[in-house]
């Protein structure tokens, strides 16, 4: 591992160590933050007991569906907008301003429209993540070097072949960064939604534990969510680097 990675690990470990000492010595009261080691054991206990299973299933299945829908839908819409410039010009300001809107404010409406359960969360997370994919798709298709398109002309490729063999591979890196964002935003959308207005799911459990002053449970849950999301994002990131290494980008 590189020197940089070691430094990073050292800093993170150091921070955790400091926190551990601060908590154990009473400098930081357990009503505020509990020691990291206790967080880990709380998390382990929760997972082992299995009573978190339905919430985990609920949350992660919602996230999974949102990821798939936002990537597929986002790519399709981005592709369509690229194909029809007038449509794209009309939506450009909307796309640019999309992430300025506080989406969570519309959560309660989704519940009222779609009822309780995971559907409004999936809709919300999908809508939240989709635009990132749309923007990335447009950026990727825009930035194809003109010389590659001329090469397609020289080889007399059909429109389909040009799309499949040149445009899509050339847009690849941008598409992948869109996928990364869609994954991250799907997690954020579902969990934030559960936190604010839900009766099930890991996000809800965190809020519930907070309300009940159950710090160990709360921190165990928070650690679990952060660990899973970070691990997942890191996997996606590592895969992207693997792909990029071949292209030397």
């Amino acid at each position: 591992m590189s020197k940089v990675a070691w430094i990073r690990i050292a800093i993170v470990a150091g921070g955790i160590g400091l926190l551990e000492v601060a908590c154990r010595s009473g400098l930081v009261p357990p009503t505020m933050v509990i020691a990291p080691s206790l967080m880990v054991s709380a998390m382990a206990g929760l997972l082992a007991s299995g009573d978190l299973a339905p919430d985990i299933a609920q949350t992660f299945s919602s996230v999974g569906i949102a990821i798939v829908l936002s990537i597929v839908g986002g790519f399709t819409i981005g592709f369509g907008l690229h194909w029809f410039p007038p449509l794209r010009r009309a939506f450009d300001p909307f796309l640019a301003a999309y992430y300025a809107i506080p989406h969570f404010a519309f959560y309660p409406l989704l519940i009222v429209i779609f009822g309780l359960g995971s559907l409004p969360l999936i809709v919300l997370a999908t809508l939240f993540a989709m635009v990132a994919m749309i923007v990335a798709t447009l950026a990727g298709l825009d930035r194809i070097p003109r010389v590659l398109l001329k090469t397609a002309q020289v080889h007399r490729l059909s429109p389909f072949e040009e799309m499949w063999r040149i445009r899509l591979p050339a847009a690849g890196p941008h598409l992948f960064s869109g996928i990364k964002l869609a994954v991250a935003y799907s997690f954020i959308g579902v969990i934030a939604g559960e936190f604010i207005l839900s009766t099930m799911g890991v996000g809800h459990e965190i809020a519930y534990a907070y309300d009940n002053f159950d710090n160990p449970r709360m921190y165990g849950l928070i650690l679990f969510v952060l660990a899973v999301v970070t691990a997942f994002n890191m996997l996606v990131y590592a895969y992207e680097r693997h792909l990029a290494k071949r292209r030397g980008a």
């Binding site: 070097p145 010389v147 002309q153 020289v154 292209r247 030397g248």
Partner: protein, 282 residues
């Protein structure tokens, strides 16, 4: 592949049949939001003779690349006619025409091998024949040790060789090159020039090269078209009369410099005009 021709006699391009022709071609880029129309090229006429090596030189922005685009069928002329092998060229690249661009057109997501094989695989050539031709082109362009490398791992010169190899496998009868060595240093350019001549002789193709380097045009060509500043037209076409089996050592000849001087004396005023034209033409 035809027998390489060795000739000590002055080659006579004007005796050959016409391979491609431009007749009173103009190209005007229409006005767009906030920008006036740009009369980029013409009216310009030229005849490319079969098997000749023709260079086009001219000041920046004079429309050299536009000329190539129109000739290749990559762009439609606003006026005039384009013909290749007797048939009109209408906005589509005809079979038998190969193009090497100024920018790196190698596909970063494919290996050198797959890049070179790309065109063959798309045109349904049998796998055995494809492999044969790819092997030949890869060897010919000195890429054998890099077959499985990705373009990003190669230098600029190597990448251009990949693009040339990719064009070569399709056995084009007319090869168009748009400042292919623009990004390379002088020594590499001279070597690549020799390779281009070798290619030309081995394939007996007609070659049109666009370059801004006068001595390069001088060295490589049978004829050189000198273009004016925008809108580009031919001021003159200079015949070099060099032997067919030439290479970079041609520059040692006493009469070599005279041709370069002739080109510059034609171009000097045009270049100053082009500099005054200022903003980027594209």
């Amino acid at each position: 592949m035809a027998e390489p021709a060795v000739s000590l006699v002055r080659s006579a391009p004007m005796d050959q049949p016409v391979h491609a022709r431009l007749a009173d071609v103009t190209r005007v880029y229409p006005a767009r939001a906030g920008q006036p129309a740009v009369h980029a090229l013409g009216p310009l006429s030229m005849e490319l003779r079969s098997g000749e090596f023709f260079s086009v030189v001219g000041p920046s922005g004079c429309g050299k690349s536009t000329l190539l685009d129109v000739l290749a069928g990559l762009a439609l002329p606003s006026e005039g006619a384009v013909e290749f092998e007797g048939k009109p060229v209408q906005g589509m690249v005809p079979d038998g025409v190969g193009v090497v661009f100024q920018e790196d057109a190698s596909f970063p997501w494919l290996t050198v091998e797959d890049n070179v094989a790309f065109g063959l695989r798309r045109s349904g050539v049998a796998a055995g024949e494809t492999r044969r031709r790819v092997d030949f082109a890869v060897d010919f362009m000195g890429l054998r040790d890099f077959r499985r490398a990705y373009p990003s791992q190669l230098s600029g010169g190597m990448r251009q060789r990949v693009c040339i190899a990719r064009t070569l496998v399709l056995q084009p009868r007319l090869i168009l090159l748009d400042e292919p060595f623009g990004a390379l240093d002088q020594q590499t350019r001279l070597l690549m020039g020799d390779e281009l001549l070798r290619l030309w002789r081995e394939t007996s193709a007609t070659v049109l090269l666009i370059t801004h380097a006068l001595d390069e045009a001088n060295l490589l060509s049978d004829r050189i078209g000198v273009m004016s500043a925008r809108p580009g037209r031919f001021i003159d076409i200079v015949e070099t009369g060099w032997p067919h089996d030439r290479d970079s050592r041609l520059a040692e000849r006493a009469d070599f410099g005279a041709v370069t001087s002739r080109l510059w004396s034609l171009l000097r005023t045009e270049s100053m005009r082009a500099m005054g034209q200022g903003a980027r033409a594209k």
